[in-house]
Subunit: 308 residues, 2 copies
């Protein structure tokens, strides 16, 4: 599914947010974890099943109000292959529930290696005469430090499968400035990256909302950069991390949207996943707490940015 | 295992090379692939088992002459979780055969996400009271576009587990120049990254050969950059891709080593894995062909760079 599909879902729910599915075991209420540890022992399998149950509970609570989910690969890879198996199940369940699925993998490698990553996450791998999907997300995040060679193989699959990508431009973390803010020529490094994103995007098809298949990750924690990037990249869909826990506000993320309140989606991970930690009920209410937090975030963003 | 262990292995074998384990199914001789397709059908399982058999055959043929292997995660992820399960087995088998294992994952994410990646690839994940390893490599490759936040969590595990990392500095691909060669202030971007690598490395312990725990990926295809980087980074171990298929020669990679022929390891993937494609025997001789290619590479490098 392309950014058009994502934009349609956002408009239908009047909610430009994506829920991160980044569960560490200590984000999962203990009644869930204990159940699977009793069944499977203190194993990776138990952890994977506990997180899967948690993920499904979250998705059940959110599917009519949140258009997209973003599983972060790290929180599956840390459980070895059992985590990766559970990630496949999580993505399948998410698609069944109607979510647009952004696999947050931040991969960045070149040539045939990039092509293999793309097969695994967006496209298909050939075995004999069969073309077999891997993790099969709708969209992935990518790192372009290695240049075009790291991005182009994904665009081929994106075009063929009607999918899309986000490349890192301006990340939301404190040390982002160490490299990204170096002045390079008359520009800073992240703007060089922004121009590359623009160039890559122009080689892809443009959807009815005016956005091509190469989006950009642009952190909420640097709102003035966000405003400049929105002007620089009128055909680039933005994924905006850093809302909530990292300090970004509804006012900050406002700059990511176009004048119709389109062209951007804001991520919240812990703010939704861990909302139960603030209600004082030991997590038996984790799904309801997540839903309340997601509704609150939607209202906060809509109050500043109407979605047309 | 740290760079000290790697350097000991290199000295013992007089061979500063690492064999890439980056098998696409079309790198695997058809007699192997057919066997597993007959057993499991045209499935990801069949592909994973064929590649595992190929990997083990390669490792059996190389373990007394090549000190390290470098599985590239992309070629496992493209087979979904079955590929990841097989990657775990490949790493276990490699360690059993005495190889130093570099997981080529080029991960780059921040804070608690970087910590989760580190748990999965170098360290351990907590489940109940148990600390469980994930893929458990000796070393990983990392991408520092997001700055220190993307690297430091790995250094904690590297120190605790006596392991190490390589951060991308100067990659070997043609489009590397698009970002890495932008002039930033009075330096180019990849030198800014080199300085960050130096800074990160200085926070870690230094081994008996003078190398700290943060190595650098420095491509063979830009030999004059390699020479400058070697001078800039006297305490940084180098991983040098780009030999052979990508155009780098023994003369080019010479610049990566210190005056004792230490402090660097040169990768060859297709040159070794696909050597059988040049012998005209349909791959029944793939293991012997790989061994011959590895010996030839060793001699070519040693002729220019004696290993003391």
């Amino acid at each position: 599914m392309s950014f058009d599909t994502l934009q349609e879902k956002i408009r239908a729910m009047k909610n430009p947010t994506v829920a991160g599915l980044d569960a560490r075991l200590d984000y999962v209420p203990s009644h869930i974890t204990q159940k699977y540890i009793e069944e499977y022992g203190q194993t990776r399998k138990a952890a994977a099943e506990a997180i899967y149950a948690f993920n499904c509970g979250l998705m059940d609570a959110l599917s009519d109000i949140v258009p997209a989910v973003k599983p972060q690969a790290a929180y599956y890879e840390n459980l070895g292959w059992e985590g990766m198996e559970m990630l496949e199940r999580t993505i399948r369940y998410a698609k069944k529930k109607g979510f647009f699925v952004i696999a947050d993998i931040k991969r960045g490698d070149i040539g045939s290696t990039a092509a293999a990553y793309s097969e695994g996450w967006l496209g298909k791998t050939k075995v004999g005469d069969e073309l077999l999907p891997g993790f099969d997300a709708d969209c992935v995040t990518l790192n372009g430090y290695m240049g075009s060679d790291a991005i182009k193989p994904f665009l081929k699959d994106a075009e063929a499968e009607d999918k899309c990508v986000f490349a890192l431009v301006r990340t939301s973390n404190p040390s982002a400035i160490e490299l990204q803010d170096m002045v390079a020529g008359d520009r800073v490094v992240y703007k060089v990256m922004a121009e590359l994103v623009d160039r890559w995007g122009k080689t892809t098809s443009v959807g009815q909302y005016g956005y091509n298949r190469v989006g950009a990750v642009t952190g909420a924690t640097y709102p003035s950069d966000l405003r400049q990037l929105r002007k620089m990249l009128p055909h680039t869909f933005f994924l905006v991390p850093g809302y909530g826990a990292q300090g970004g506000t509804a006012e900050d993320v406002h700059y990511a949207f176009d004048r119709y309140g389109r062209g951007a989606i804001v991520n919240s991970s812990r703010g939704i996943m861990c909302a139960w930690k603030k209600t004082g009920h030991d997590g038996v209410d984790y799904a309801a707490a997540a839903r309340d937090a997601a509704l609150e975030m939607r209202e906060a963003i809509r109050a500043v940015t109407p979605i047309l």
